[in-house]
Symmetry: C2
Subunit: 217 residues, 2 copies
DNA sequence: CAGTTAACGCACTAACCAGTTACTTCTTTT
DNA sequence: AAAAGAAGTAACTGGTTAGTGCGTTAACTG
């Protein structure tokens, strides 16, 4: 009566764990949406891979689209958060930009789901992302960061003036994103394995060089 | 046999016209696949919009995937063919590259289906494109063209040496492709209408500038 | 013009799929 | 210890979807 049901105090052998189940669903759904897209993913498959009952998905996320929206928002917040952790404001302007180019490339490389999720969201004309104010806010921070790097660089005379930070941001993403999201068709079109170790190294060098040439004073 | 069956020579009032039906199916399917992706497109919808019977799709293209493969191949051949018609070999190296950057941008802008079809194909790990030898051959021509432009430019002293034509090609595509395929999420993230007339003009200028800086001697 | 071929269409099916109903089991609260 | 509520499950539903069987009709051939 006083607690002798549980012989090992301090341990919680909970069979039921809402947070853990939720996390398993999110993880499984991210992989599934990334692999098949929003339309191609199957709720039953997600439930199975999450080792959760399908009913739980509807319990926690209301609908398939609700689940997708949650995952998409988390994905954006994750990359924006990782960018903030680079502390680019502490580096000199040129080094800061190089670090951002390298980070963006490596993030896409390590998190290819991000690319597919964004593609899927654009196929749906960004209807889910539209609703997210927090993603907008965290993106604004990134643009401001690049903006201030450019300003510092111009003042120090190491970067040229008149560059639109949004265009630069888009281009930094573009040169990595395109290469990686189209790695399958690209490997056929260009008749070389774009994902081979030396091909990847060659590409990141080319991208850093490209961005540096854009901003050079 | 003498031609008197048809009172109006040069006109074919055929009720049954295999070629026309096939063409209508292809056109409708391209739009549908572009809008919904391979997984999201519905064969019934394609048939309806093509004003053809669903049975005809299976008669001409065997399966939904067979239809997709035909459309994808046609799409690639169309852009590769249009590129050849630019006759870049007749222009001086710098003008040739600028023309290619501008063409690529405008092609994507006028044929947004191309972007979505390629995205969809990459979601399926290029399994359909793999089978197409003719697409490989026509892509090779493009790389060779850029390669020879670079060579001419180096000889003339107007372009720098040591640029990998494949990396350049990829980058020319990337700076336009990324901007346009992600126009929906991009317009939210960057809090501006990326498809506004002046935004588009600003972007193509930025892209030309970017490519010119990459190749500058 | 009879016979053959190819274009076309109706109506069906077997599988699939997002979402739900109705229920059981576990945990916490009082 | 009993009530309350949350976590979890299985089986089902109504609608959808890729793909087909089979019959019909138009166009071409000899």
């Amino acid at each position: 009566m006083t607690g002798e049901q549980n012989e090992k105090p301090g341990r919680k052998p909970r069979v039921r764990d809402a947070e853990a189940t939720k996390a398993r669903i999110l993880e499984a759904a991210k992989k599934e949406f990334a692999k098949k897209g929003l339309g191609g993913a199957r709720v039953d498959d997600i439930a199975e891979k999450a080792k959760a009952n399908k009913r739980m998905i509807y319990h926690y996320f209301e609908s398939k689209e609700g689940l997708f929206q949650t995952i998409l928002e988390e994905a954006y917040l994750d990359i924006r958060n990782a960018e903030q952790k680079l502390h680019l404001e502490d580096l000199d302007p040129r080094a800061a930009l190089e670090k951002l180019v390298r980070f963006t490339w490596e993030y896409y490389l390590k998190n290819p789901e991000f690319l597919t999720l964004v593609n899927s969201e654009n196929l749906h004309r960004a209807k889910h992302l539209k609703k997210s104010e927090i993603v907008k806010a965290s993106s604004r921070k990134l643009v401001n960061m690049v903006s201030s790097i450019l300003e510092r660089g111009v003042k120090a005379g190491v970067l040229r003036d008149g560059i639109d930070p949004v265009q630069l941001n888009i281009t930094i993403a573009a040169v990595g994103y395109y290469y990686l999201t189209n790695r399958f068709t690209g490997s056929i079109i260009y008749e070389r394995d774009l994902m081979a170790k030396d091909a990847l190294e060659q590409r990141i060098q080319f991208n850093i060089d490209t961005i540096m040439r854009i901003v050079a004073a």
